[in-house]
Symmetry: C2
Subunit: 337 residues, 2 copies
């Protein structure tokens, strides 16, 4: 099968055999895959990952490594998305006493043995086929198109904020950043009934958010270092993907406010942390989220990510797609095997 692997900061095509299945795993034919900023970080050396990147996908189950016909019948031919953290249960440790302390407590996203699709020790979706444990798969309802379903993983990450923060205690939220993830976060917070102001650098991307009912403001218009900022928010989400985001986030956060961190850029940025102390902020790191909630949002139509798609490339043009995804103004780029 055709797949792409990371070599010296680039994607290189590689012919590989289709993955062999363990019991309880599925072989998934990828229908669409999405390019995420984490994939760009991986090209820059994040996690020293040298396999096949790609963790956003929708696909079809074409083989099941199972001993029971019932399980095969349940999954074969199904259109699915997949949770990206492969935890104890997926690694053949079904019984609680054999699991790590996080899996036992029901937090497999922090499994101490975890592999991560296309990120840590497991090949991902920039290929014709991928493999995942059945327990990671979620069936996609027929009402959701492939172009919507491929957003399930990042949309779930956006929904994680609703699990971590009681958003209705806040009247308004600031979302910092106007990129792919920030766009989804702003829509998710709007769908929860919150007023949202997106702060970004790109007029075009901000315009895209306004079409979804989000208020917007150019970062350049925020007065820096004023002693009494006219703008302050009890809830701020930092999703710029850039080291400079945290400073602005601290400035916009009201005393005793909540600041959700979503950016996972690598490299140390010079940051002053005393505002967290002096303002007594609560900073919440936020990563993967609930697929069920994301699928529900897609099905209800309350969040429609399709306007974020800039272009769909054939899989064989993955390197060009990667370059295109880094152009200014481009939001989501998809790969179609």
């Amino acid at each position: 099968m055709l797949s792409f692997v990371v070599r010296n900061g680039r994607l290189k095509p590689r012919q590989k055999p289709v993955p062999r299945l363990r019991p309880g795993w599925a072989l998934v034919r990828v229908r669409l895959a999405g390019i995420c900023n984490t994939d760009l970080e991986i090209l820059r050396g994040y996690h020293n990952f040298r396999g096949t990147p790609g963790h956003e996908f929708v696909g079809e189950v074409v083989r099941v490594g199972s001993r029971t016909g019932k399980e095969r019948r349940k999954w074969l031919g199904r259109r699915v998305v997949g949770e990206i953290n492969i935890a104890c249960a997926g690694l053949g440790r079904a019984r609680a006493r054999k699991q790590c302390s996080y899996c036992r407590r029901g937090v497999p996203t922090h499994c101490l043995r975890r592999r991560v699709l296309g990120i840590v020790a497991h090949d991902g979706a920039f290929a014709e086929y991928l493999s995942l444990p059945l327990c990671n798969l979620r069936v996609v309802p027929g009402a959701i198109s492939d172009e919507q379903a491929v957003f399930t993983e990042p949309l779930a990450a956006a929904c994680e904020i609703l699990e971590q923060v009681r958003v209705m205690q806040h009247s308004e939220a600031a979302v910092l950043g106007d990129g792919k993830l920030a766009q989804l976060i702003a829509r998710v917070l709007c769908s929860a009934g919150l007023g949202v102001v997106m702060f970004g650098k790109h007029a075009g991307k901000l315009a895209r958010a306004r079409q979804a009912g989000v208020a917007t403001q150019l970062v350049s218009s925020v007065r820096r270092n004023s002693r009494s900022p006219r703008q302050s928010y009890s809830l701020v989400v930092e999703a710029t993907g850039s080291p400079s985001g945290l400073t602005l986030a601290q400035q916009l956060a009201a005393p005793r406010g909540t600041l959700v961190l979503k950016s996972t850029f690598h490299g140390a940025a010079p940051v002053e942390t005393w505002p967290v102390v002096v303002k007594e902020l609560t900073v919440i790191g936020s990563r993967c989220g609930p697929f069920r909630r994301a699928l529900k949002l897609l099905r209800s139509g309350k969040v429609d990510p399709r306007p974020l798609v800039a272009r769909v490339f054939p899989l064989r043009e993955a390197p060009a797609a990667m370059r295109f995804a880094q152009r200014p103004g481009v939001l989501k780029v998809l790969l179609k095997p």
Copy 2:
């Protein structure tokens, strides 16, 4: 009266008239004042403060700016400590509708108009006298000595952690730092029934903590950058006062753990924040705390800060005391007018 002011990074003696009192304020003769790391930061230019520093004190009310004899009788001659944030109520705005949104909500430590004793726009305790609103004062019970009472403010700051975090959800806490504040924090967490491990750089200071029942470990013995750290804590308190503390704190924090920030060093330090996101940490900034709780701890004897006193200087030797406070191994230095 003799006082000291900040000039060009140094403490200079200055003869000043005793402060004039507004109605509802008290003139306090300082009996003892403590030197805090914030005072050292102020010498380095923090807040551009050019008045008299010092915010840890115990003193005696010698005059009351009040129209009612009852209030005068209540306070005159009392031994007191004082909350350092001067908020709307203290600034003559007793009625809620004249107060800022934070004072109205009962959070005067974040008052939008606030002045801070010895830190922001109000002269502090490195002087023979200071002034504070009566509503900031707390009477010191007779069972508490001056040498204990002068620790009320930093001890209250340590107690703030008990207000912000349900410590009993954690079995053990790591306290990073072995300085003045870290020593108090470790003792407060111990007094709440928590197992505490202090991570520090100075064998002598760590020994001081062990005498109070705190387990200790040299920072140099912590294995850096290991993929599966053998040590992890669901509650970590960063009180090193140094930019490097945050990195170690993130390393020691368990996934979904809580990280309390207490350090208010200034200057931007290169920090990677992705571990907060990947581990989904909750980072809580923590500043001033409840005086009542601190006084209760002192009175009960559950926390005895007196072994932390390195030396008491006469007020007129304040500059020498400041230099002494910066020597390696020195914990609390006091000034006696």
